[in-house]
Structure formats: C-alpha cells, structure tokens
C-alpha cells in the first residue's frame, strides 16, 4: 500500500494531494488536463522531487522532505507505464521487457528467458524480436505493461494507459488491462482524464482539479454526488452550491432554489437537465422553482436537445425535439424554467 502526502510546485501548478491506496483496490486519479495528475504520478515514481510531504510504500519511507530523505527512482521499486509507453526504440520487445531485470543485475540469459515468459503471458508470442516501431498500439501497450511488471514492483503506476490507442482497439485493450491489473499483486494507481476509462479500470476514483483532491469515492458515489463543476459536466448535470436553510438554498452566486430536503448549512444542489421544464410564458400550477432567463444556446442530441438558459444562474435543460420546435427555442429569447423542489437533490458541501 502507498501513503503519500505530495506538495510541489511546477510552473503555475500548485499540487497538494494526500492519498492512501491499499493493495486490494485499483485507484484512478481523474481530472481535466493540467490538473496535476501526471505530475502526481511522476512525483510518486521519484522523477520529480517534492517540495513538501512524504511518500511511504509498504511501510518503507521513499521520500520525506522534512527528514531530507529521498530514494532515487531506480531504487523505488515502482513500475511505470508511460502515456506513450516510451518503449526503447533501439531494443526488441524481448529486450525491452528484460531491461528492468538486467538493470537489477540478473544475468542476460535468465532475464531474456523470464522476459519471454512475460511476453507469452501477455499474448505476444512471436513478437520477441520486433522493434517497438513495428508493433501496433495495443501490442506496444502490452509490452509496456509487461516491461513495468516484470521486475516485480511494489507499486504500478499507469499514465493515461489507453489514450494513445485508437477507438477500435481501445475496448479490447481495456478488457485485457482489467485482467492484467487484477493479476498484479501490489498497489495500483492509474491516471486518466477519461471518466469511462476510470470507471472501467478502477474501483475508486480520486478527482483532482487544479492540484487539489476535490472528491473521492466509487464511480457510482462520485457521479451521484458531484462535488465540482468538472465532475458535474462529465455526468451532465447542473451543479449549484449555496447555503440551505428552511427548505431554501441561497446560492453563493445569486438566486435561490426551493428544495424538499430538510438539510441545513453549506450544500451542493444537483438538478438533472431532464428535470427542467421550459415555457414561453410564466407556468401555471405548482412548481416551487420558476426562473426567468434567456435561451442562450442549443445542442441537439437527436430526439432531445440541451438548452442553456442564462437566468439568475446558468442552467441546462434537456427537452424533447418537439418542444424545441413548439417553443421555437432555436430563436433564443426569453423563457421560463421550472423545476419541482422534489427533483433537486441536496447533500452537504
């Protein structure tokens, strides 16, 4: 298991993340580009020195800034699968996989035999003598994984393991990767900006934005209760934040939302776009929430469409193509948006 408290600055990025990953789980660090995911991974591997904090792997101290301890990457026992694999172009697939064994002093013959066994296990029999340039994306990915796992690391780090692949091979490679990851005995951390990839490969997500850990939990937990605009956008819901009191959430950016939940204090409120109804006139009836705004933009999703409404706060509504035509939403103009209080889910911020 790894326990790390990582603090470092790199350019405009200020990374401050604490994490703890056990051997019985696969954890994905999920976040937008530039959030500091790769930097975090490089710091764990020892390729970037920390400014503050410590890293401990299976009880062994790898780095502690306060104590002045820093174990070099070649002595950490971390296997890394890099984003574009970085297979050594001048070595064959077999020699690539044998590299980590030979660098640790294994004799050439033994290392090559072990590497051949790894290639066989990864379904790469017959590619022993192939140079990386002659391998397909999926094959190169498997060689990179075999190379990282062959020296029996305690920690396996994967940086965007599927992003270098084209869509047609990605699904197959993802299935293989799940299998190989589950066979690995040790700590597994991967980094990705793709929520589907994260959910498919990992049991727990750590959402990192602008160098900070903003949310962690199972994929289901994270998507059910987004705690950041980034996750809300991934899931496709409206995320609002404000202060709840007596069935009303007063939003920090202005406006208020009536809710059915009796929660008090700082809260997140999530409104699914399908729960938002649009009208050209003030709606009759009982909806507790009615806001006036402008239909700003329209995105067609086949028989449905997403309409962005600029009101007291920005709100996305998902309506049928029929209502788009009936309400002439493509023309923009003033609209009324209504949401039932029971459709707003609220949870503590």
């Amino acid at each position: 298991m790894i326990r790390a408290d990582v603090g470092l600055r790199l350019g405009t990025l200020d990374l401050q993340v604490e994490l703890e990953v056990g051997d019985d789980e696969v954890v994905a660090v999920l976040g937008p580009n530039g959030a500091g995911k790769t930097t975090l991974l490089r710091a764990l591997a020892g390729l970037l020195p920390l400014d503050r904090g410590r890293v401990e792997l299976d009880g062994r101290l790898l780095e502690d800034v306060a104590l002045g301890i820093r174990v070099a990457p070649e002595r950490r026992g971390c296997g890394v699968v890099f984003q574009d694999y970085l297979l050594f172009p001048h070595l064959s697939a077999l020699e690539n996989v044998a590299f980590g064994l030979r660098s640790r002093g294994a004799d050439r013959r033994g290392a090559l035999a072990a590497a051949a066994e790894w290639l066989r296990r990864f379904g790469l029999e017959g590619f022993e003598e192939s140079r990386p340039a002659a391998l397909s994306g999926g094959q190169a990915q498997r060689v990179a994984l075999a190379r990282a796992m062959a020296p029996d690391p305690k920690l396996l780090l994967l940086d965007e393991p599927l992003s270098a692949l084209d869509a047609s091979t990605r699904a197959q490679v993802r299935r293989d990767l799940v299998r190989h990851l589950s066979a690995f005995r040790g700590t597994r951390v991967l980094v990705t900006h793709d929520p589907l990839e994260a959910a498919a490969l990992a049991g727990r997500l750590l959402v990192v934005e602008q160098g900070r850990l903003v949310q962690s939990g199972t994929p289901a937990e994270v998507t059910a209760r987004p705690r950041s605009r980034y996750v809300a956008d991934l899931v496709g819901v409206n995320l609002l934040r404000g202060h709840a009191s007596g069935g009303t959430v007063v939003l920090s950016g202005g406006g208020s939302v009536a809710v059915a939940d009796p929660l008090e204090g700082e809260v997140f409120a999530v409104i699914h776009p399908r729960a938002v109804a649009l009208h050209r006139r003030h709606p009759e009836g009982t909806p507790r929430n009615v806001w006036r705004g402008e239909a700003a933009s329209l995105e067609s999703l086949g028989d449905r469409a997403r309409v962005r409404v600029e009101g007291p706060f920005p709100l996305v509504a998902e309506v049928t193509a029929a209502s788009v035509a009936e309400l002439k939403l493509a023309a923009g103009g003033p609209v009324w948006a209504s949401v039932k209080a029971t459709e707003v889910s609220v949870y503590p911020a």
Binding site: A45, G46, L47, A72, P73, E74, R75, R76, C78, G79, V80, F82, L86, F88, P89, H90, L91, F99, G100, S103, R104, R147, A148, P151
Partner: protein, 261 residues
C-alpha cells in the same frame, strides 16, 4: 511521396548547375592531370607512405581524443545550465571560424617552450611542439568543435523521458548511459566523429605552425602535398588523390551505412 516530381524553376537549375560544376571541375582537374604512369612509383615512395601512415595515425588519434573529451563537454553544454555556458559554447566553436594558422600560433603560446604551460610540461619531460603528439594536438583543436556541436545537438534532440523510463526500471547511471543514452545518441556521435575525423585529416595550418613539417613525425599528407607541389608537382597530385580517395571512401561508405542517407 508518390506521383511525378515537379521540375525546379529554371533559375534554380542554373544556380545549382553552376555550383555542381564548381565542385566537379577541381576534381576533374585532379583526375585528368594525374600522372597515372608514375603513380605506383610515386605512391610507393617512402615519404608518401610515411605521410599517409602519419596522417591516418594522427587523424584517428585526434578523433579519439575528441570523443574522449568532447562528449563530456557536449554533455555539460547540453544538460546543465550554468553561468558562462554560452561563452563556453562560443569558445568551443571558435576554432571553426578562426584561421587554423592562428590556432597554431595560439597553441605555441600555450604549449610552446616559452608558452603558458610549456615550461611545466618540459619539467615533466613532455615536449609537444614539433612532435607527432603536437600534430595530434593541433588537429584535435580544429576538429573537436565539429564533434562537440554535433553531439550537443544530438543530446538536446534526445527525448530524456526514455532515460526516466529506464530509471523507473532500476537503471543506475552507468547502465542507463550504456544501454539507453549511448545507443540513442549513436547516430549523432557517429556523424560528429566522421566530421571530426575528416577535418583532422585535412588539417594544415595549425599543424604546420605548431608541429612543423618533419617527414615521419609531423609531415601529414596535406603538408606533404604542399611541399611536393614546389619540387615534384606530379607527386603532389597523386598524394592529393590519395587524400581524396580516403576521405570519399569514409564519408560516402559510412554515412550511407549509418545514417541511411
């Protein structure tokens, strides 16, 4: 590239043709005016053989010295940021633009009998001026810059993430250098080595100034050519052809094999 090639504009063709002729004519002059009948005798003359042998020994020694010290220098220039780095780089490339004679004079003032280091070296029994070692030193001075700048460019172009990958796989410094950096650097190192060797083989000015012109010890082929031109022009032509053949063989043969043109 598929399909037909476009014809270059006429003006470009004329310019390129003149340039090509400019390179071809001197070569043709050498080949046509060579006294082929006396060639075996001229080439077998002891002086010619001595000069050829010395040229090969000195140029390869200079290349070896340049690799041994130029690669670390290129490494420092490419990988480390320190005050005066640009100044050092300018200093290293200076011999490329300096007239070689000036380099020879400078070497005399540094390693000559009354030079900066001369007396110190003499005290331990090392005499460089007018010796074969001096000829090697002169060739190294003018040839090493070609190696340094080529290798430095190669190091800069090298993707250092391969080295990071190797480190995560447990490679220590030496293993990393031997199994990753050096093989990835090989094309630059080779190209730099060939350029360096070719420059050393043709070196004249610094050598004759610093090492003199003694048959067997400091008289390399270019010096022999110059000397023979006054007394036996036919021999000078034959020696020139030898130089030409050796250079061409190495440049064409090895470049194609290693750099894939």
């Amino acid at each position: 590239m598929t399909g037909r090639q476009e014809r270059p504009p006429a003006l470009v063709l004329v310019g390129a043709g003149i340039a090509a002729l400019f390179f071809l004519l001197p070569l043709a002059g050498l080949l046509l005016r060579a006294p082929w009948a006396e060639a075996p005798a001229d080439l077998a003359a002891p002086d010619s053989l001595l000069a050829l042998r010395l040229s090969l020994v000195a140029s390869f020694s200079a290349t070896a010295l340049s690799v041994a010290f130029g690669v670390p220098l290129a490494w420092v220039l490419a990988r480390f940021d320190f005050p005066g780095r640009n100044l050092l780089r300018a200093l290293v490339t200076l011999p490329m633009v300096l007239p070689p004679v000036v380099g020879g004079v400078a070497l005399l003032l540094a390693f000559g009998r009354r030079g900066l280091l001369g007396p110190v070296l003499a005290a331990v029994g090392i005499h460089l001026p007018f010796t074969t070692a001096g000829a090697v030193l002169a060739e190294t001075l003018v040839a090493m810059p070609f190696l340094v700048i080529t290798v430095e460019a190669g190091l800069r172009a090298l993707d250092s993430r391969y080295e990071e990958a190797a480190r995560t796989l447990g490679a220590g410094r030496w293993y990393l250098f031997r199994r990753v950096t050096l093989p990835l650097l090989a094309p630059s190192l080779f190209a730099g080595g060939v350029l360096c060797w070719a420059r050393a083989l043709g070196e004249f000015g610094a050598t004759i100034t610093f090492a003199g012109n003694f048959p067997g010890t400091t008289q390399t082929l270019p010096l022999a050519v110059y000397l023979e031109l006054e007394t036996r022009p036919e021999a000078a032509i034959m020696l020139s052809l030898v130089l030409l053949a050796v250079s061409l063989a190495v440049l064409v043969g090895l470049r194609h094999r290693w750099l894939g043109a």
